[in-house]
Subunit: 379 residues, 2 copies
């Protein structure tokens, strides 16, 4: 195998693929990066137990300056190879695999020789049926992930809760995650044009990595789903993730259908107040803040205290406080995550009772996005 | 004590003083920030065993918007206090010490109450004679520190080598540091106007912290030196450091007075080549690179290898290679530190023998700055 390529383009592909490569793996060859050079171009592959990423540099992409001298394939130590590439002196580099998988990397006057591995020993990527697929725009997919992944559990004791539950049917997509203390659910309508129905659970970590790679524009992302894998295709990149096996809990029944107290906050201002209150709660062993909503007085106040350090009290700005007067205590970190997911908007917070979960929705659209938080008993 | 102050100005002073405050201290009150409010303004003080920093906000500084209601003093938990101040909602804040050192911090609708400590229990700062002092410009002082601190030892086995040796006499200042593997020496002429002579050792860590605070301009820094302390005064800030006790080794005799091989490199290009070679040396147990200077062929080459990973070879660009042909091995990390301290310039590297220390000086000025590196025996 021998080729020359533009270094900047190559580094971009390398960085993408490296997201899937871990130095901590029980399969030594997976610490490597696989390069496959065919007449059409160069494929870079990285993989771990959960995700696999492939990017393709086409011989037709002028900016990549790919010059193929001899096709072939090799696996190279990923971390070290990437460090070398990033330090090379010139705008292009040449990679030449000689005998015994020895690989020469040259750029200008600098010449590295490193030991590669036989690419035939690299595991095969899953095969996914190409005939059926869905499409989403990249920015919407990123938003769905960022809004729901916050509620994913990081406890391996209930592995199913470390995933995001995706339900696709009747031209609708619902994404939901819960760690049993809070829940986040997002719905969109999709233009499927096909009669596909799916009910799958994708690891939150996989989707987090995917979101980092997706462009912030409305370009297309194709989703292909098999029994135990999901594949996202965008630009020259293919992103595979395994699916979690099992049944996701029925989350619909957790969401209260009515409320006894409602209030509206500017999400950004409310977030700042919660951040201040959490300074004190973080110094305390139970990490809670107390929200007091006095309907007759039309007053909303947040409190927190730490016996060792002191206390904080803040009168909040709000709109439309109605229903029953209420005092409720909750973990401010859950509230911060939830509020950040709303961005610059007004949120409606709806409560039933002090010990029952309460919900946050955008004031302008109660239907498509909901965050639920379970309060904390303080007496 | 009660005052109102502009939050942005207060945060700047707070950040400066916090450099001296550590949460790991054997004297609990030193985890605190001392505030002293007098008719002229507010003094913030932070201290640890090695350095103390004081900044002053004058009542005459309009941008600070300092409104004094009642003078006094208090010590507040520094880390926590600073987090609160940074999260406050409005452009100004009010601090009010009530009974039992309880301190109210208010800004807009947010109100914090935290427990303070009696400022009378805070240690006194060292007293330093105000009559004698030297002046340097801030940018020159920063440069001297950054050029020499790289050679300071971080091994506490010979504490004296963790400092920078400053010798001031005859209108000259010499700063030198060595960890016994390498040495860096910088000289400047100073316009003392006085007949001061000093021979002191300042902890490298203190000077590193000082350099981070010094402005990048030619404003004045005043140095005042007592038997066991040095004080740097700049802007509204006073920076105290203890001095190291003991005799610094005689470093003049370490610097070779002649050479058998010399070569000139562009410091930036040579640094890039060394960085590439060190990728391999870092994977090897002895971390060395080999430089080969072939005078008859007029060729300079750098090599490194790691038995597990591979090897690297690079032909270097250079000027004026003269003297004896030479092969020498050294720790590339020492060379990287040295080359970075030269910036964008041409350096002259002068060698005597493969196992004798070699030197780097700016090609344009051999007198005022010298870096020395001890090679490594490889046979």
């Amino acid at each position: 195998m021998k080729f020359t390529v533009n270094r900047t383009n190559f580094i971009k592909s390398l960085n993408d693929v490296q997201r899937a490569i871990s130095s901590k793996t029980t399969i030594p060859i997976l610490t490597g990066l696989k390069l496959t050079l065919a007449a059409q171009g160069l494929t870079l592959t990285g993989s771990n137990a959960d995700i696999s990423i492939e990017t393709f540099i086409s011989v037709d992409d002028d900016s990549a300056e790919l010059q193929i001298e001899e096709t072939g394939k090799i696996v190279l130590p990923a971390r070290f190879f990437s460090e070398i590439i990033k330090k090379l002196p010139e705008a292009v580099l040449t990679i030449n695999v000689t005998e015994n998988y020895q690989t020469e990397i040259t750029s200008g006057q600098a010449s590295f020789t490193i030991k590669g591995l036989d690419a035939d020993n690299y595991p095969h990527l899953p095969e996914i049926d190409e005939t059926q697929h869905l499409s989403l725009t990249s920015d919407i997919l990123k938003q769905i992930i960022s809004q729901t992944v916050i509620a994913v559990s990081n406890q391996e004791s209930r592995p199913i809760l470390t995933g995001i539950h995706l339900v696709i049917k009747d031209e609708g997509l619902m994404a939901v995650a819960t760690d049993s203390h809070r829940l986040s659910q997002r719905k969109i309508t999709i233009d499927s044009g096909q009669n596909n129905a799916y009910d799958i659970i994708v690891p939150g970590k996989s989707l987090n990595e995917l979101a980092k790679m997706l462009p912030d524009d409305s370009s297309d992302v194709e989703l292909r789903i098999s029994e135990n894998q999901i594949l996202f295709v965008f630009g020259n990149t293919s992103f595979y993730s395994r699916l979690l096996e099992g049944n996701y809990p029925d989350t619909e029944r957790l969401i209260p259908q009515n409320s006894e107290t409602t209030i509206e906050f500017n999400a950004v201002e409310f977030l700042s107040s919660i951040e201040r209150a959490s300074l004190l709660s973080h110094e305390s062993h139970n990490n809670i803040v107390k929200l007091s909503l006095d309907v007759p007085e039309q007053k909303a106040t947040i409190y927190s205290n730490s016996p060792e350090i002191g206390n904080v009290e803040e009168t909040l700005k709000f709109q439309n406080l109605t229903g029953n007067t209420l005092e409720i205590s909750f973990n401010p970190d859950y509230m911060k995550d939830a509020l950040r997911s709303f961005g610059q908007t007004t949120v409606t917070v709806a409560f039933t009772k002090p010990l029952r979960p309460f919900t946050l929705v955008p004031s302008e659209d109660h239907e498509h996005f909901i965050q639920l938080i379970t309060p904390v008993r303080t007496f």
